[in-house]
Symmetry: C2
Subunit: 354 residues, 2 copies
């Protein structure tokens, strides 16, 4: 994928609208998006971009990037950035206010009294919202990996192992299936622990009669996938079936609503209303979904508070869930890329039939 | 470990020296250090502390913490913090300038016009520098896990597998040995790739005649360990042996210098001088070591630029290395806790004999 120079050009266009000649890129995924560099560092984005790292990553910086001067010094990234800025001397320097810390801001302000600092948010993130075909291809590969792992493991899931053991098997299977890493530590939450939407792996043994929430993702060339399934070990109670079907219906409603041009708050509401009508509105305690790309949680967030209208090229999850403390939880999550004709499903692993 | 309330008291004492009544804690390890909470959130540290999270982590927040009011709302952590601050109305609010982003700073400033914001650095980090006995015990347990894994795996390491496969075996073995997680993705770098101090796992097959750098760590109740070994697959060349012994000698010199009261720059220099004298000064391209605790890299950094004098209770690595692009690299890393009598070694896995 050699899209880096055009991406930098687009970012420079956004910068020009802010009357700034340069942007200090401090967000790691934005750095990778604009350069391909996988190490730690900063980017001084300008007509003559400078990639700043240290000697630990010098080789990677040279091999992975092109079109940027590489500075790999031992004095600290911010000190190297100041050095490069003294050379380029932009009148107005934009910075990423959501990743630059206040302490780093003070350092830049004090070191560059002649430069006006311009606080920006989401300048590069907005470019990342719409994925290109090569990006979707990588996400689809990451999705195919979680699909394959779940298709192989879910039908065989049975009482006996601990959550941690199942999590570790998922980990092993994802790497063996070609993931360069996990996009996050898997969630395997059984019985009452499934009521924790972000449970960590515990040593609790999975029992017959447990519902089990499995939430996992793979990483392919830096791009993430994300999927959740809920299964019942043993015979599902009528109560479980009722709640499971309500979550399924909510997911279907969310998917149907996720059309180009549709405000994310309406998409969230479409799914939420199904659960409210079923009497589970209070138990759906998070937003409907999130964007996925170089980060496993990125824009757009599908939530009641969002003010974004979906666009072709967005990649996002649709993942309603209901959580009953003491009883358990049910969540279903799939990954989609938005096309002209609507959401195209990227995850297809077996849905349990209840 | 129930040290949380006394830790908060010590942090409040540091705050009083800044004439501030409250501290907004945004650094995740600082949050965990002061409360025990393992989820995502913020802490308003004051005489009546408020732990701020969201409904995803509500159960964990209630179970893991005591002595704090818990707020678990859906409006966003910073908005909840503003809410809590409007109630407590401190005249001066300290914040952690190295973890609060500039955007978050602007939000606080604009929402709280009556409150003076006081930028702080390392207020809680300074408390974390000196580990207590229960903390050292957890780090020692994490160190014993990497020791056991290396003692079992290193003698059997042979040509054939890829770096990624070996990395995965390390991962599996660490979890099976009781690590709750890894403290970082292991490094397994063979042949010329060992010249990259922070190589990622690749699909390169390990060959006879490769030197292999293995760098790994385990996590126990949030506390990290960190260790590196370098081994030669097959017969070591005289060149390898010379360089290996130089790194060993540098490590011994660094350990000997790491005494209570000794400035970290002198400790770094003691090891560095050995490599300079051996003609490898240029090839030792990073600092000598780093603190280890709730973070795998934390204070104190053992580097030429550091201005800290070692204290009893510090836990840190001593890890000289030499890196020759095209040839390979050699790094040896061990973990120590500083006692009155000098550094006590926490990692003891087999050192290869060359």
């Amino acid at each position: 994928m050699r899209e880096y120079a055009p991406r930098r050009d687009r970012a420079l266009q956004s910068l020009a609208e802010l009357a700034s000649e340069a942007l200090a890129v401090s967000s790691p995924p934005n750095l990778r998006y604009l350069t391909g560099f996988t190490g730690e560092g900063l980017l001084l984005l300008s007509k003559t971009p400078v990639l700043i790292t240290d000697r630990r990553y010098e080789t990677e910086a040279q091999e992975e990037t092109s079109g940027c001067e590489v500075v790999a010094a031992d004095r600290g990234h911010l000190a190297s950035l100041v050095e490069a800025l003294r050379t380029q001397a932009p009148r107005r320097l934009a910075f990423e206010s959501e990743s630059l810390t206040y302490a780093q801001y003070l350092t830049l302000r004090d070191a560059l009294p002649e430069t006006e600092l311009v606080s920006t948010t989401k300048l590069v993130e907005n470019l990342r919202l719409r994925k290109t075909a090569p990006e979707v291809e990588l996400i689809a590969r990451a999705a195919a990996i979680v699909d394959g792992v779940l298709d192989a493991m879910l039908p065989a899931l049975a009482p006996g192992p601990t959550e941690r053991q199942v999590g570790f098997e998922l980990n092993r299977a994802l790497i063996e299936a070609g993931a360069e890493d996990l996009s996050f530590t898997p969630i395997v939450a059984g019985g009452p622990r499934s009521a924790l939407p972000h449970a960590t792996l515990s040593d609790r043994v999975l029992h017959s009669g447990d519902m089990v929430v499995l939430d996992l993702g793979a990483l392919v060339e830096g791009y993430c996938s994300d999927i959740t399934r809920t299964v019942m070990l043993g015979d599902p109670s009528p109560e479980f079936v009722e709640r499971y079907r309500a979550v399924q219906a909510a997911q279907r409603a969310g998917i149907a609503a996720a059309q180009p041009g549709r405000p994310v708050a309406e998409v969230d509401q479409a799914a939420r209303q199904v659960l409210i009508d079923a009497g589970f509105g209070e138990q759906f305690s998070h937003s409907l979904g999130h964007g996925v790309g170089l980060e496993v949680h990125e824009a757009p967030t599908l939530s009641a508070r969002g003010d974004y209208a979906l666009e072709v090229g967005n990649v996002f999850t649709v993942e309603p869930g209901v959580y009953f403390p003491g009883w358990g939880g049910i969540r279903l999550e799939d990954l989609f890329v938005l096309e002209e004709t609507g959401p195209h499903r990227l995850t297809n692993a077996c849905q349990a039939r209840y």
